[in-house]
Each structure stands twice: as C-alpha cells, then as structure tokens.
Subunit: 448 residues, 2 copies
Amino acid sequence: MKNLDKIFNPKSVAIIGASSKEKTVGFGLVKNILMGKDLRKTFFININQKDILDNKTFGKISDIQEEIDLAVIAVPAQFVSDVISQCCEKKVGGIIVVSAGFSEMGEEGKNRQKEILEKVREAGIPMLGPNCLGIIRTKNKLNASFAPITPIEGNVAFISQSGALLDVIIDEVEKLGASSVVSLGNEADINLTDFLEWFATDDETKVLALYVEGISDGKKFMEVAKKITKVKPIIIIKAGKFAAGKKAVQSHTGSLAGDYETYRAVFKQVGIIEVDSIEELIYSSKALSWQPKCANSFAIITNGGGCGIMAADYCKVKGIELSKLSKETIDKISSSPEMSPLWSKSNPVDVIGDASPARYRAAIEAVLGQKNVGGAIVIQTPQIMTDPVENAKMIIEAKKLFPEKPIICFFLGGKMSYEAIELLENNHIPNFSDLKDGITAIKSLTNN
Amino acid sequence: MKNLDKIFNPKSVAIIGASSKEKTVGFGLVKNILMGKDLRKTFFININQKDILDNKTFGKISDIQEEIDLAVIAVPAQFVSDVISQCCEKKVGGIIVVSAGFSEMGEEGKNRQKEILEKVREAGIPMLGPNCLGIIRTKNKLNASFAPITPIEGNVAFISQSGALLDVIIDEVEKLGASSVVSLGNEADINLTDFLEWFATDDETKVLALYVEGISDGKKFMEVAKKITKVKPIIIIKAGKFAAGKKAVQSHTGSLAGDYETYRAVFKQVGIIEVDSIEELIYSSKALSWQPKCANSFAIITNGGGCGIMAADYCKVKGIELSKLSKETIDKISSSPEMSPLWSKSNPVDVIGDASPARYRAAIEAVLGQKNVGGAIVIQTPQIMTDPVENAKMIIEAKKLFPEKPIICFFLGGKMSYEAIELLENNHIPNFSDLKDGITAIKSLTNN
C-alpha cells in the first residue's frame, strides 16, 4: 500500500508555477492553498514574479530552506521533467503534477510521462497525475487543486478520472460536502486502486464515489474493491461505454475504455454500486452519507396521487419493494385525527392534496412503526394547501423517532420548497428534486 | 368536436364555494380568478360569507342577473349535484367541477358522478372534472384553478390526469411558461381526447405535454393523436405501468391503467414522444418550444472531457447520431486563433478546460457551419478558468447565425452558472442541468 500521508496531510506545500494572474491554473492553486495557510507552510515558485498576493516567491524549489512535504507542479509540460528532478533532489514527500500534455497527447506526451515516472519511482516519491485538478482534504483545510470552490466537510470521498467532473460535483454538493476530492489524471504512478486502499482505512470517509473511464490493474482493483465494499459502499459511474465515448476517452486521459459489459460484471461481482449519471452519483452518495442502510421494503407517502404512482413505477423498475401495510398500520393512519377519509388505505399512502404537516407526521410514524417497513419515501407536491416548511419540521421530528430507518424526501417543483429543502438537508435528510434518479439512490441503501 | 371556448375564454365566471379562508381550495380559486378581473366579470358564491376580499358574494347562482360563461364548483361532493342543477337552469356556458369524492371514491362516488354527468349531458353543457385542479389560459389571464402559481405566457399546453403534478410542473417552468394548463380530473364529460382536438387548432399552442394514467376511448384517441402529431408534437408520461402503480391509479382517478406494453405500442404508432419522468417532460417541452427540429446529427462541444464522454454514451443509448466532422470543419477549429492545440480533433469537440468564450464560439460556428450537422450540444463545466456569463453571451450570438439549427446547453454544476443560465433561457436557449435527461429531450427534436 502506498503511503499517501504527505499528500493528504502535508506540513509544507510548494506550488511550482504559482501565478497572480486571475482565472489561471497557477492562481487557482495559490488561492486555494492559502485557505490552509495557518495550518502549514506554503511556498510559491515562479521565476517571473517577485511576489504573489503579498507572498514572496522563490525561483526554484532548491531555494527553499525548509523541508517540503508536497510539491504541486503546474508549469508547461516541457518543463515538468526538470522540475521533477529538482523535487527528487529536494526529497519532497509527494508530488502532484497538474500540468497537461502527457500520455493523453500522443507519442511525445507518452515519452514525457515515462520520463517523469522513472524519476519519481527511482526517488520513491508518490506522484499524482499528470493532467489532473489536484486534491482536496476538507478536514485538514487542504485544497491543493485549482477547483473553483472548496466543499464543506463531509464523509464522501469523490475520486475521478475527470477533473472537470469534480468541478461540477463540488459546485453541486453544497450541503453534502466531501471528506476528500481526488482528481486522478493520467494515473502514471498513484492510481485509483492505490487511493481506494488508502480510503479503506480513512476514518473521515464513509462513502467512496467514483467516476471512471478505464481501469488498468483490473485484478488488483477487484481484490481491493471487494474488501472495501464489505465495510464502505463504493458508487461508480463508468463512462466511455460505447464506441464514440471510448474514442473520446483516448484523447481525454490516454487510457483504454475497455469492454463495458466486462466492467459491469466486475462491479457487480465485487459489490460496487453502479450508477448512470452525475445526479445518481451525488444522490446515492447523499443517501448513504446521511441515512442508515435498511431492509428492501419501503413505504411511499405522498400528497399527490400521480407522483406516488410514478414513484411506485420507478421502485418496480429499480427493484425496490413496496411494503404491504398491516391492518394495524392502516387503522392507525385512518384513526389519526388529522387524516382525510379519502386517503388511499394502501401503499403508496396518498394523504391527499390538503395534507397538513400533522397528517404527514401521522402517516410517517405509522408506516415506520410497522416493524418490517425498512424506510419511508416522502413526496410533497407544492399545492395551495401545502406548508413546505412546516412539513419539513414535522419530518425532521418524525425521523428522530426512527434513527435506524431512512427517510428520503422529494419536495418537488421549484422555488416554493427551497426553504423547506434547506431545512431538511441541514438536518441530513436528503431531498431529491428528480423522482426517478432519487429512487435509484434509494436502491443503494438496500445493497450490502 | 366539443366547443370549449366558454371554458377557455369566458366573459364571466362564477366561483361556487368561493372562500376567504387562506390555504383552502375556495380561496385559491378566488385569488387566481381575480388576476383577470379587468378582462371579465367575476362572481363569488358562498352562503356563509357576505363578502370575499371586498367582493360582494351571492347565495346561489340564480341570484346573479348576468349571463355566466363559466361556473367553477368547489363545494363538498354531496352538494355538487344540486349546484349542477342550478347551473343547468342558469344555462352557463361551461362547468369545472373541482370537488373530489366521485368515481375515485367507490360506489357512492361513482353514482354521484353518473348523476351529474346525466344532468350536464342533458343540458348540453361541457363539464371538466370532477376531482380536478381546474384550468389556466395564460394569454387570457384566466386562472380558473387553485394552483399556487400562474405560469408566464408560453406555447406549451400541459394536460394532466394529476392536478398535483401540474402544481409541480408550474413551479418548475418559470422561464418556459405555458399556453394552457388543464387538469383533467375524472374526465366524466370532457376527456383528454376532446382537449387534444381543441388544442390541435389552437394558435397559442405549439407543443402538447401530457401526463396520463389511463385512456378510456383508445380508438378515438389514436385517430386524433395521429392527426395532431403531424403538425404539433405530443409528449407523454404514462404512469401506472406496473402492478403497484396500477392499483394506486384506481384510488387516484378511478380509471383503469391498462396494459403498459399496449400503450407504448400505441404511442409509437401515432407518433407520440414518450418520456419517463417529469424532468424529461419539461426538458422535451422546452427543447421543442424554443428550438427548431433538425436532422439527427449532433456535435458535442465541451470544456470537460469526461462530460463529453458521458454525453456521447447517452446519445448512443438514446439513438442520437454524432456527426462526423469534415476535414474542413476540423481545420477551421484548429486554425481559430483562440484554439488550444490540445483540442480533441473529433466529435465530441473537447475545447479543453481553459476554454475562453471566443473558443466556444469558434467551435460552435465551425460545427454548425458544416452542412450535415443538425444541431449543437454545448457543455460547460464550471472551472476556475471558465466565464459562464461570457460563454452564455457568445452562445446567444452564435445561435443568431444558425436560426434553423438548435443549440442545447448544459451548464453543469450549481450556483456558479445560475446567472449565465438565466441569460441563456431569457434568450430561449434551453439549459439542462442533467446530461442524461437532457439528451433524452434532444432526441425529441429529431422525431417527426
């Protein structure tokens, strides 16, 4: 197992190719690394600029007296090899090569990559990249990337062979946050499997969310993944499934996309949860991060009949079982003082358009009180009689009574429910705006 | 063909069961109908309240001297039949029964529905409902529903067997708007097919978007739909596909969901575009409402390799062809002064993470300039080098050069692109936040 501690928890970082010019990679790295400036020493290297944001710069890494745990390299491809030599001489603890122009760029690039790989391997220094966004470790306030945003602390590690995709995810996971963000780039030295091994024992990480185009060390990956999925869920998007996408993979990270059916079979065999879109990846991560796993038996509670029917359809397609409500549960719902006589008397539990917060709560408590119901899917459509914020408060209270059973919400529509959704998610009750993708995420709670 | 003009363009409306109590159906109807109070006469009927929002009320409809074009009934189910008798006597032009408690409610409800149907049929008055949200006609500033929001004017008619689903849609289609919103309810008298016939010749409506659980007059529906799809696209969600959902349909609108495979075959045969989620329905409506149809040959332009690869995968699954770029097009892109030498040289056109607005524009103009390229899919990931608002502006300019070719955008992520997305959609360039659902919508542009 590779020791990545100097990469994830460095006491000193040098940015080679730092810049004060806005909207550049070099400036992004500077701005991000400065967020942790009270926790570690930061050094900027740029031969053309004397200082960057009031920090003195250095001409090269050997000019720095102190030890350097992590060197982040963002100079043009043709200069990377020289910089790597200097880093090896300096005996840095780890290297991240952000620069592009390597194995994704034909023969010349492949040779460049081979050259730098030989150097770091000889020096025994772990190297991430080249051609990557960098890494983020929220707990340590370490953002050694040029991502435009730093996520809040969370317990999901996002690991991706596409850096831009991480930018998308980071911009979306506002409430969920992340324990770590890793952009793999070309994986010349440290690869996906190395990171999986590291995250397996990482106390900050509960869920692993992956975007993958190709996996080079199939056998080792399978061994490692199989062990991890017994303790932590791994969710994956496999891109480059078909001819056009596969071709694009080659010019993207220079790897081979391989046969999709083989990947599918492997994921299934080792217990990886495969999803098919960014939304499904984020939704599933959120469900697994915030809610407990449960038996595959769900009750749907809704104030809109049509949405309950659609949810039931998606459950069928995704293999989610709908609980059969006991006579006791039905009686309990019917006898609740707030209940409408028009309620559906079966699952989906349609509590009717004029459902009050108390009526939602009565239904949730009744269904989750039934022993063999695993969890609740709560749908709210924004009707004139609906009070989204009060509904959210009631759901938060009801959830406290059933810590071992997940509640997943679908407050559908737009602006009318924004405040309520914020409240739900501040209390770690996931809310999904898309029924179909959300039901996919719920399935991940029932996998082992 | 039923004459629905008195329902869609009444000169006078009476609300029977109007109320001044907030968060009730009766109050929702009052508030909504008052929006058009300068365009028509409005009358409120309530035996218990003397006035509602400073409008004098009437005890019953016969107390009103003027003619009534449209009567909207929202009294409890057991009183509806009497009110209907009064409306028939008054010779109103059309009736909407909002009240629930009819065929969706067992034998008693079925009998009630039969009774009111006989009355309106004898009087020759078209009746919408019962058990519905009502209708909205934006051009006429007519909101005869208890929806919580009135959409802006648009050219899509949303017709639904679920009222709550319309509330969801209305809350989501902020920029798209609607020409009309029709909640079908139990379809005792006027049914889906009647409305389709009416919208076929409606100049305000370009696209028909439907939510359907069951269709009762299959043969007539097919005849009518087949004619309409030759001139206007019909998009449909069919809910209640499987056992659990079907069962829920019965307690929802009292109709039979029928065999889904039969529905699928029928939709295909008559040229209806079937989608599988609310998002897909809204996305497809937006694409068809705002952009021209085109040949099935698309170019993907992206500043993130991974997202381009995923888009290519979805295109393959959805049957969207990716254009083969000509040597001329590739040369044109390569020779653009702003272009990165790292660009992908094929479709998907990866313009690389540091893509400037001008680089996006050069790529869009080159691909759409190629004769056999039907349209462009433009993806933006929010990187530190990205300028979303300037990209949006460039796309809007580029679109002007190709009025006959659609551009569909995917500005992915969250907050970073909100302003840019607003700009795009103000200029009727659709932006979709979900790649997978968005690609489904694009497919609808290639159907005939």
